[in-house]
């Protein structure tokens, strides 16, 4: 078994707002992330797959294929987008780093045929990241 990690970057804006909260609650819970004009980050997506090394190719997964899936399912959908307004999953769920990791996992997992998805890590910045390993 070997683990392989591929990285991609995307830049996006978002805000944190729960319509069930009062304005004061939104401010208290989400702080400056509650500013409805939004703000943005350079996100880093790290996708780790696991599997056996193919005898003939020496690959655990075709990197080009993995890159295409990551681009199509996550990067193209989120890069230079407003997450709350342009990514359907965040019409209701709040686009925290935690939820972005879960959404990325759900978008990627069905397309992983050869290698198995092991972990999705999303960095909001160098000092903050969330890891999702699927339903454990």
């Amino acid at each position: 078994m070997i683990y392989l990690t591929r990285k991609a970057e995307f830049a996006a804006s978002h805000y944190y707002h729960n319509p069930a909260f009062t304005p004061e609650e939104n401010q208290r819970v989400f702080g400056k992330c509650a500013n409805m004009n939004g703000h943005g980050h350079n996100y880093v997506l790290e996708v780790t797959v696991k599997g056996e090394v193919n005898d003939r190719t020496g690959f655990v997964v075709d990197l080009k294929e993995l890159k295409d899936i990551m681009n199509r399912e996550v990067v193209d959908a989120m890069d230079h987008r407003h997450l709350n307004k342009e990514v359907p999953e965040f019409a209701k769920a709040i686009p925290t780093t935690e939820n972005i990791a879960i959404v990325a996992w759900k978008r990627l997992a069905p397309h992983m045929k050869v290698a198995k998805l092991h972990r999705v890590r999303v960095y909001e910045n160098a000092d903050l990241f969330a890891d999702y390993y699927g339903e454990e």
Binding site: V29, P95, E98, I102, L128, Y132, Y133
Partner: protein, 134 residues
Amino acid sequence: MKVHLTRRYHFAASHRLHLTDCSDDENRAIYGKCNNPHGHGHNYSVEVTVSGPVDAATGMVCNLADLDGFSNKEIIERFDHTNLSMMPLFEGKVPTTERLCVEIYDIYNKGFKHAHLEKVRIEETAKNSFEYTG
């Protein structure tokens, strides 16, 4: 849906690695330049990983304001710009980063109640890092 959340904090501190019951030569042999008599310092990075279900209302494992508040008060304010070798915490113990990692894990483990503690990882330099998972 359990998610792991990791946050990185920074502090600067000095220390000297020295065993009082060993000779100067023995200390030098064990700790090398880390035994230099006047100590030396590092920019430490502490990565704390917590886990839990994502709260449906907030989208969060735990509120970063709580984690930052706790970390600033209990870690940064306690260790930043200090000499670790002089702290009561390390009395009779050499403040290696292994020990610092265990002490910081214990501080979170005892005091931080907003999410489950998974791991503390400390980078002493870009080349050295230490992890403790309890």
